[in-house]
């Protein structure tokens, strides 16, 4: 990219006028856009005018386009200098855009460049006869046929210095030339032998439907096995995803919010059951109403109880109460089920605390530590 300016005055033509064809075409083009938005037609119109002017945009042409579309000159000038497809300097009758981007370069575009430099001269230079000029461009998207050039509107691919020289000779002499690959290759088919998809079965039609056949065979075998079995009920057709496209709220079991909701429901249930009891009920009666008493030991195993105070939330008082219930060991607490948790919670008048402080989980951890 370089700073782009209008061509110098000595090459600028004195006048410009739209050809009748372009004039008619422009009318149709401009009609596509809403009133007051005629300026939208600037790029197609400039492109057309560039074609009419021999591949470049003289100053008078820019101004004519601006006048036609009621745009300030500077606005058209901005567009023309922005897009590199608009040439502001004269180009040859055959305007060669040589791709020099990596894939082409790896496949030999440097050789092509050498040919161009030898035959035409430096980039942006028009030959004395006005036939050729060239420019290096970025990827033209034909990497599979690298190296390649674009001459006016056509791609010429798979070039070698020899074939490119011949192509230029033909163009210069006005002989017909072949567009596309200049080798034996057809479009972008593989060069030389085919190396993939070589199995002829792929192409004789035998492969088509082979999977279906296998399914049919399996089904027949199954039918043979269950000959006595009753005819299976015709499957009701279900959409694969009944709620596809609809907003559906599904409970997620493990989400904290979900857990909280479950606990809340349980607490309500507990509260209801407790409310049904007489006020004089002992903690044990209350606990029996909502849960199941965990089985206790008569005395600690091996005569030595675990230090239950290590569980966060269990102090000396609670430890004594738990011991009174026959709970001496971490593993006992770790084994509590839901009903037992509720029972102990109610018994200690600590509804919900066991869950909040995670006694069971703590106990499980301490128990596993004890073992190791």
């Amino acid at each position: 990219m370089a700073v782009r300016r209008l061509a110098s005055d000595d090459v600028q033509p004195d006048s410009f006028s739209f050809t009748p064809k372009t004039k008619a075409w422009t009318k149709e083009l401009v009609a596509k856009y809403p009133e007051g938005r005629e300026a939208s037609a600037v790029i197609p119109l400039l492109w057309r005018v560039q074609g009419d002017c021999g591949g470049w945009l003289p100053r008078k042409a820019l101004e004519a386009v601006a006048d036609r579309l009621a745009m300030p000159y500077i606005r058209v000038f901005e567009v023309a200098t922005f897009y590199t497809m608009f040439n502001l300097e004269p180009v040859g009758k055959f305007y060669i855009q040589m791709c020099g981007t990596t894939p082409c370069m790896l496949c030999g575009s440097n050789e092509i460049r050498k040919v161009l430099e030898e035959r035409i001269g430096p980039a942006n230079h028009v030959t004395a006869d006005g036939m050729f000029s060239w420019i290096e461009v970025e990827c033209l998207g034909a990497c599979c046929n690298a190296p390649m050039v674009q001459i006016n509107d056509d791609y010429y691919e798979d070039l070698t210095p020899e074939s490119f020289n011949k192509l230029l000779d033909d163009l210069a002499a006005g002989r017909p030339v072949k567009t596309g690959p200049q080798s034996e290759r057809r479009t972008s088919e593989p060069e030389g032998d085919v190396k993939t998809l070589t199995d002829p079965a792929l192409f004789d039609g035998s492969v088509v439907g082979s999977w279906r056949k296998r399914f049919e065979e399996a089904a027949a075998r199954a039918a043979l096995k269950n000959e006595e079995a009753p005819e299976p009920a015709p499957a009701t057709l279900k959409p694969a995803k009944p709620d596809a496209g609809r907003a559906v709220v599904r409970p997620v079991a493990d989400a904290p919010a979900q857990k909280a909701a479950e606990l809340e429901a349980e607490e309500k249930e507990v509260a209801a059951k407790l409310a049904a009891l007489p006020k004089t009920a002992t903690p044990e009666e209350k606990a029996n109403a909502i849960g199941a008493r965990p089985e206790g030991l008569k005395k600690p195993r091996g005569g030595k109880a675990d230090d239950l105070k290590k569980i966060d939330g269990v102090g000396p008082a609670n430890e004594a109460k738990l011991n009174a219930l026959g709970v001496y060991h971490y593993d006992q607490i770790a084994d509590w089920d839901r009903a037992q948790i509720l029972w102990v919670g109610a018994f200690l008048s600590f509804a919900g605390r066991i869950d909040r402080e995670g006694w069971v989980a703590q106990a499980r951890e301490l128990a596993s530590k004890n073992k190791s």
């Binding site: 990219m1 700073v3 300030p72």
Partner: protein
């Protein structure tokens, strides 16, 4: 209104605000280069980056709407951070990129000291560069005689392009090329053709566009800044006069939303060299047909001799277009004391007269009120040349939503679309009678605006035209309870003040044209009156600032002070009283004009009853109380004025209107002394010739 949290402060802003506006409202300062509140949003400098909680990367606050922000997960208002480490780092990155190609030439840059880039580099810049390639080099462009370009310094904010396209309405500038090769230029380096082009030097946040006439003249910190008002036209733009010592170095705009927003015309800005050239710095007396330097007593004695030999009805006084209210009041008092009835401030012969009421000669809708109008009829005016900033307002209104605008007069480029209804009074008559198609648009409008220019009011048939315009205003309901859409557009800064003072012929007195005629008077006082040709015969005393037309005709010259050299009241075309402050002192023996007249009154034996400016103003306010209310517009009875105007006699002639301003750059003696204005004028007339071809 939407809630938004900026740096922990919760505020409520309209949903259509941008984040930048919301942040400013919350008191956070956002650096910016491309954003300007009076231009469209470009969002290309990226300096205004802020962090939105939840957004993956910083966003450009100037181009991000408050309503585009997502609320928090539980519906909390969006949270913006303008001071976080991310924001600082992002802005530092932007600054580093900006400085990659910006030359390190602050010591020789005219923007130094008032440069946004310099200031913001202090906050976000780093002290060294990591860029070891070559800097970009860009050819400087010619874009006119007023704006110097230093294109290496350009950071591509495109403010200048947006200004000339949107505000000035003359799309001369553009950005050509792309990426690193993008350059700001005009088409083939033609000079910009807008009369507001110099505003781009204020808009340019770096030193890429600087003032050409002011190049290398001064540094901003050397200048004494004086807030004042402009007198180049009757708009009364708010200006800041920057002076160094005795010399006015430059004029810059000040913000006044009611008048000029923050733009000024090129004439207002680049007049500074005219304040130095061709100045009258001592009294002169004509002897044997030649002017010779004299002392003040000599000059006064010569005047006293002439006055004592003349009868009061053979004496007259004409006030010029740049005179302040104070000196006109002093001159009127002096003439009253001498029993002189021949007074006039209307050199151009306009028919406006205080007798019809104040609403008959001011721009009643006010300049800000133009934005409320829903149909505009311009009669005999080219507002672009006569009052550029009124034209900017009309364009601003037109850009908000196109409205019917009709022009009767010359067909010129006003920078907005309008219907050219006709050239002369017959079209106006057709509209008044409702026959013209534009009458329907005016009738449908709730707040029609009728602008009458001096091109329609300085003719032989102007009384009839004024009556027609008043009838039109009445017919289309331009004057209602809360709207007065009848506006007279003046071209002279002193005019409304003079009419307020009643500086018009007394009973049986001659008007300006009659006074200037051959043999009408024996003694004529010209108070800075340069726009009138006085026929030979009378003894002419010219009190003024420049060796211009009036001084050439004078028999005695009394040197006075320009608007930057005196404290004076000016009343703009809206009738707004404004105070111009003294920024410098008059050169040589020149004195403030009221003081000259006070001294002269002594010599003439009828001493004026004040010894200083405060006493003069006391007397002035006692006689005309509304002069006490600076920056205010005194209420005037619009309906009564219209009724009075509608009764004016006469029959309109069938002659096209022509604007009194033919050369925008040379309308007064100060402008005619300025070389910058001369260059602009030559360029503009060249462009006019080219357009005519």
């Amino acid at each position: 209104m939407t809630k938004i949290i900026v740096d922990g402060i919760e505020i409520e802003v309209p949903a259509e605000y941008t984040l930048l506006q919301a942040c400013e409202q919350a008191g956070a300062e956002i650096p910016r280069f491309c954003y300007h509140e009076r231009l469209s949003i470009a969002g290309n400098c990226r300096m205004c980056l802020v962090e939105i909680k939840g957004a993956p990367k910083p966003v450009a606050s100037c181009a991000w709407g408050v309503r585009d922000c997502r609320p928090g997960p539980n519906g909390e208002p969006p949270e913006i951070s303008t001071k976080s480490a991310t924001v600082k780092k992002a802005r530092e990155g932007v600054m580093e990129f900006l400085l990659i190609n910006h030359p390190l030439d602050c010591p020789i840059c005219d923007q130094g000291g008032e440069c946004d880039l310099q200031d913001q580099a202090m906050a976000y810049g780093v002290d060294s560069t990591r860029f070891h390639e070559n800097k970009r080099a860009v050819e400087d462009k010619y874009i006119g005689p007023l704006v110097q370009t230093w294109m290496n310094r350009c950071i591509h904010c495109t403010r200048c392009i947006r200004f000339v396209t949107e505000v000035a309405g003359v799309p001369d500038l553009g950005a050509i090329g792309r990426g690193e090769d993008m350059e700001i230029t005009s088409y083939l380096e033609k000079a910009m053709s807008s009369e507001l082009q110099s505003n781009v030097t204020d808009l340019c946040p770096v030193g890429a566009l600087t003032s050409k006439p002011y190049a290398y003249n001064a540094r901003p910190w050397e200048l004494t800044k004086t807030e004042s008002v402009d007198v180049m036209d009757a708009v009364g733009s708010a200006i800041r006069v920057d002076s160094r010592g005795r010399e006015v170095m430059r004029v810059l705009p000040r913000v006044n939303e009611a008048i000029n927003e923050e733009w000024i015309s090129d004439k207002t800005r680049h007049i500074a060299d005219g304040l130095r050239r061709q100045r009258l710095d001592r009294p002169y007396i004509r002897e044997n047909g030649k002017l010779r330097a004299a002392s003040w007593p000599e000059a006064f004695a010569a005047i006293a001799k002439a006055v004592s030999a003349a009868k009061p009805d053979r004496i007259g006084a004409i006030a010029g277009d740049l005179a302040a209210v104070e000196e006109m009041f002093a001159l009127k008092s002096l003439m009253d004391a001498l029993g002189v009835k021949n007074l006039d401030a209307r050199q151009d012969g306009t028919v406006l007269d205080p007798a019809h009421g104040r609403a008959s000669y001011v721009f009643n809708p006010t300049i800000e009120g133009i934005e409320d109008a829903d149909a505009i009829l311009i009669v005999g005016s080219n507002p672009r040349l006569e009052a550029s900033l009124v034209n900017v307002r009309i364009r601003k209104r037109w850009r908000m939503a196109p409205l019917p605008i009709g022009v009767i007069g010359e067909k010129v480029d006003l920078t907005y679309d309008y219907a050219h209804l006709g050239a002369g009074p017959d079209t106006l008559a057709e509209i008044v009678s409702g026959k013209h198609s534009f009458a329907k648009a005016l009738k449908a409008a709730e707040r029609p605006l009728i602008i009458v220019g001096q091109g329609a009011l300085t003719r032989a048939d102007s009384a009839a035209i004024l009556a027609l315009a008043a009838k039109a205003a009445k017919a289309f309901g331009a004057v209602a309870e809360d709207w007065n859409g009848f506006g007279v557009l003046h071209t002279a800064a002193s005019r409304v003040g003079a009419l307020d003072l009643g500086f018009v012929p007394g009973e049986g007195g001659l008007d300006a044209k009659a006074m200037a005629a051959a043999g009408a008077l024996d003694v004529l006082f010209l108070l800075g009156a340069d726009e009138i040709d006085v026929a030979p015969g009378a003894f002419v005393t010219y009190q003024g600032t420049h060796g211009d037309r009036g001084a050439h005709r004078a028999d005695v010259i009394l040197p006075g002070a320009t608007y930057t050299e005196k404290s004076g009241l000016y009343v703009n075309t809206e009738g707004r009283v404004q105070l111009a402050n003294r920024a410098a002192f008059p050169p040589g023996e020149a004195r403030e004009d009221w003081a000259v007249l006070r001294a002269l009154s002594d010599a003439l034996g009828s001493r004026l009853p004040f010894d200083n400016l405060a006493q003069l103003r006391e007397k002035l306010v006692a006689a005309h109380p509304h002069f006490a209310e600076i920056d205010a517009i005194a209420q005037a009875d619009g309906a009564a004025a219209l009724a009075a105007l509608a009764k004016l006699p006469g029959k309109p002639l069938n002659e096209p209107f022509a604007s009194p301003v033919t050369d925008f750059y040379l309308t007064n003696p100060i402008a005619r002394a300025s070389t910058v204005m001369a260059e602009c004028s030559a360029l503009a007339s060249g462009a006019r010739r080219e357009a005519a071809e």
